[in-house]
Amino acid sequence: MKKQTLLTVLAFIYSFSLLAQDDLLASLEAEQDNEKTIVDATFKGTRLINGHSIETRKKGVMDFIIAHRFGTIDGGTYDLFGLDNATMRIGLEYAFSDRFYLGVGRSSFEKTYDGFVKYRLIRQSKGAGSIPFSATWLSTIAIKTLKDPENDLAFSDKVANSHQLLIASKLSSGVSLQLMPTLVHRNLIREEDENNDVFALGVGGRIKLSQRLALCMEYYHQFQKLNENTTDAIAIGVDIETGGHVFQLQFTNATSMIPKGFVSETTNDFFEGEIHFGFNVSRTFQLK
């Protein structure tokens, strides 16, 4: 027993003396190797393509985001591959803390207002007590204000909401993957619709092609659909980052840019060429 204690003490003293030797630096570095650091920038923007990524802006940052989806490219030269038509969404978002993010938007498609609450539950980290993934909760409410002269609708009838648990992991500096279990609920559905609730699972990811360019993919599979005619939303795009801007260019079969829309109301067939070209442009302002 005594000998053991003595050896421990010796080892301790000796480790102190090692500190003093030429490779002082190695010992300093070792102290920092296990320091916990949050993994940032799993994705460049707060949107993967159509849907949200786990990312939120940092506290005090406002984001202004404009998104366009042109008509489908199968219209040919007559519609200039869809460029004659466009639906758009403008949005304004603000980070109240590094975790809590709020946003509002308006889509021209069905004159829809939307608002969302996003909260970062878990942040991926390295070092002591590391966590290999991030998780963010997203709840969105959408209010359709397109006039419906045939029906007398109450406010609650025009409301749909969606809830998503976004789970992502930055596997390396260049590769990130994300899973998005999703529920879309409508208070009122039309006669041709079957389900008030739509369940879907989204998968997506990005591969960095260079420091400022990334290739992104996103796919939402529906397990319970609104009706038989809807299709799964597919999107493929690139992210281009230039200072305070993120430009996202994409090809997708979805027309809507809010979760209840692109997850459950997409009717285009991606593989039949019913694809929209579109873009998201975000501009960041540090307010605080």
Binding site: L6, L10, I13, Y14, F16, S17, L19, A20, Q21, D22, L24, L25, S27, L28, E29, E31, Q32, E35, T37, I38, D40, A41, R57, K58, K59, G60, V61, S172, S173, Q211, R212, E241, T242, G243, G244, T284, Q286
Partner: protein, 182 residues
């Protein structure tokens, strides 16, 4: 029997070594840099720098996490880590070297004096020799060390795209400060 002899010998050796070379360590050292470019000035500070000074041989070592640098604008911080310093691949910046005139310095009485640190700095995985003047200030057994030097961004393989060349200076001023209690 042999072991009985060995242990006291090691003990004596270890203790004498630790007494003689006991390095002073500051775990809350500060490092900052300042980039002055036509479009904007960028400043960042790291307040968790570890610095060590070996009082016997005048050896110095400094290590800091790139992620420890904080900027006024959070997006700059993200770009600094992601696009320029690549902190995933190169998490630390370090310096190791010696105070060349250490034996001439007197750390027994209050006062200020200058010394030259000569060593090697490593940023973004690139090692470069560095010489810098260190100003020491000794007051009531607290020794402060301050140094300022300039580094060329391009020398450390940090690529600045043409688009933002007016936002980021080619030469960046670096400052570091430590407090050691003697």
């Amino acid at each position: 029997m042999k072991r009985a002899l060995l242990i006291p010998i090691i003990t004596v050796l270890a203790i004498s070594q630790s007494l003689a070379q006991n390095p002073k360590v500051d775990r809350e050292g500060k490092a900052s840099f300042f980039s002055e470019a036509p479009m904007e000035d960028i400043e960042a500070i790291n307040e968790k720098v570890i610095g060590a000074l070996d009082m016997e041989k005048g050896i110095i070592a400094v290590s800091m996490l790139i992620k420890g640098f904080h900027f006024e604008r959070s997006l700059m911080e993200e770009h600094f880590n992601e696009n320029y310093l690549e902190s995933d691949k190169y998490p630390k910046a370090t310096f190791k070297g010696v105070i060349t005139n250490f034996s001439e310095l007197d750390f027994t009485k209050n006062g200020s004096f200058e010394a030259e640190a000569d060593g090697e700095i490593e940023i973004h995985g690139v090692k470069k020799p560095l010489k810098s003047i260190v100003k020491f200030d000794l007051k009531n057994s607290t020794l402060t060390a301050n140094t300022t030097f300039e580094i060329e961004v391009a020398e450390f393989d940090i690529e600045v795209p043409k688009l933002v060349i007016k936002n980021i200076a080619e030469v960046v001023e670096v400052k570091a400060a430590f407090n050691f209690s003697l």
